[in-house]
């Protein structure tokens, strides 16, 4: 019997295992994770887990019972420490090793730890244990200082206000979400946070943190000092590819793969999720994407490729990421970067719902930002797949705006 070994049981690894079995794969499926927790979903960690509206058992991706029913061998508390791709063997930290016919690298990433994050009371948000510790400290009251205004930082700031805390958010960039949104939209997100009572210090850096839990002092580059009971650092993540360092496989901020998500130079090693840097034909370069939907789509793709290796279709996803901040459901489709949106339906500064559209040089939709507007979201997501004519799309949405305003 053949064996597929999946290292990493976050959403990418779990969905690969499920898609293999669901797609008729009859070999052995071994799913391994370094955590001892049954696999769980990560998006709620910066939101519902912190407010208590979700509990750990409500966010499980795969219970031991479900794993058993699907004949998935779930091995927890094992850390992969090495790979020999020629011998097809993965080594683990307890001294054991396991062979495979197909290997799926799904080790994800870990939150970057800033140099000053040495005292207690400074939190990262990546694991269930991280979220539980942060929840405990937030329950003790503010002020909360959040460093980093990317998706994780902005969501934690929003959650802090929901809990009634005094919240300050700090970022070196001029606006939140500046890596994902053009400045005109990012400015609207800044206004959203300010209107919700978050003190936003943009264009600011942190030079040091002193004190301990409950009584921290944050010092900014310009000498300003801020008091904080709790500090959260959301300054990005790094791919967990260190265990592959001696494998001979190509690493470059992630495991480098071809357009079929196969590690370069191999025919039997695949990567999915945050750790995968694959060659994306649409963008013409290698990319690494840290979003939930990409991990799920890549998992389905790789499972297909393992079941039917003759399938020649390359992996060409359309990026999709959502973020819940204050009363906004922000949804970003495709590429919404650049100097400004091409067209905006509704007013981001005044309306409770709007859509910003981005055209490429051929006048086709290349990206969209949709806030609180389900119909526009569906229309834009379909349009990205169909490469719909720009005029049809905007006319459609204009009609919808008119109807909404009527």
């Amino acid at each position: 019997m053949t064996r597929t070994l999946i290292v990493g049981a976050s959403v990418g690894g779990v969905r690969t295992a499920q898609a293999l079995r669901g797609g008729g794969y009859d070999g052995e499926i071994v799913l391994i994770d370094l955590e001892t927790e049954a696999p769980y979903d990560k998006p709620p960690l910066s939101k519902a887990l912190l407010t208590g509206s979700a509990v750990p058992d409500g966010i499980r991706l795969l219970t031991p019972e479900q794993a058993g029913a699907a004949r998935i061998d779930l091995l927890l508390g094992l850390r992969a420490v090495g790979l020999d791709p020629r011998a097809r063997v993965v080594a683990f930290d307890d001294g054991s090793s396991l062979g495979y016919d197909r290997l799926v690298v799904a080790t994800g990433g870990s939150a970057r730890r800033p140099p000053w994050a040495t005292t207690d009371g400074v939190h990262l948000v990546r694991t269930l244990a991280d979220a539980a510790g942060l929840r405990r400290d937030l329950a003790a009251g503010g002020p909360l200082v959040v460093i980093g205004a990317g998706f994780v930082g902005a969501e934690v700031a929003s959650t802090g206000r929901r809990l009634g805390l005094d919240v300050t958010m700090i970022d070196a960039q001029p606006y939140p979400l500046s890596r994902s949104l053009s400045p005109d939209l990012a400015r609207a997100v800044l206004a959203l946070h300010e209107n919700a009572g978050v003190r936003c210090l943009m264009g600011a850096g942190v030079s040091g943190v002193a004190g301990s839990r409950g009584r921290l002092t944050v010092t900014l580059d310009d000498g300003t000092e801020l008091k904080a009971a709790t500090l959260v650092a959301g300054i990005g993540a790094a791919p967990s590819d260190g265990w592959l360092a001696t494998s001979g496989l190509t690493l470059d901020d992630g495991l480098v793969c071809d357009e079929h998500c196969r590690a370069v130079g191999t025919t039997d090693v695949y990567a999915v999720g945050d750790v995968a840097r694959w060659f994306d034909l649409a963008r013409g370069r290698h990319v690494r994407v840290e979003h939930w939907t990409n991990a799920v789509e890549q998992a389905a793709y790789v499972a297909h490729a393992i079941i039917d290796p003759r399938s020649p279709r390359p992996y060409r996803p359309v990026d999709f990421v959502w973020s819940d901040q204050h009363h906004w459901k922000i949804q970003v489709i495709g590429d919404a970067t650049g100097p400004a949106a091409t067209a905006i339906l509704g007013d981001p500064m005044a309306d409770q719902r709007f859509a910003a559209l981005y055209a490429d040089e051929h006048g086709r939709l290349r990206g969209a930002v949709v806030v609180n507007w389900p119909r526009a979201l569906v229309r834009c997501r379909k349009a990205m797949r169909e490469t719909a004519a720009w005029r049809d799309l905007t006319a459609d949405l204009h009609t919808a705006v008119g109807r909404a305003g009527a």
Partner: protein, 65 residues
């Protein structure tokens, strides 16, 4: 024959299911999933199950009738 079920309370309108299988799923103006058909044809099963697994809030499932 297999059937698809939706938890309308859980649905958050992400539309991943629509992208995955638009003959089976749509989203209404309030952002809640609409099942366009209930019974899942055998030849569609894998595609529909993938769409179900792509739901960020696990609001969908396929059951064997």
């Amino acid at each position: 024959m297999a059937a698809v079920e939706a938890d309308l309370e859980a649905c958050q309108g992400y539309a991943n299911c629509v992208v995955g299988a638009d003959r089976y799923f749509d989203i209404d103006d309030d952002g809640v999933v609409v099942l366009l058909r209930i019974e899942v044809a055998d030849e569609d099963r894998r595609r529909v199950e993938e769409a179900v697994r792509s739901c960020p809030v696990s609001a969908l499932k396929v059951t064997d009738a």
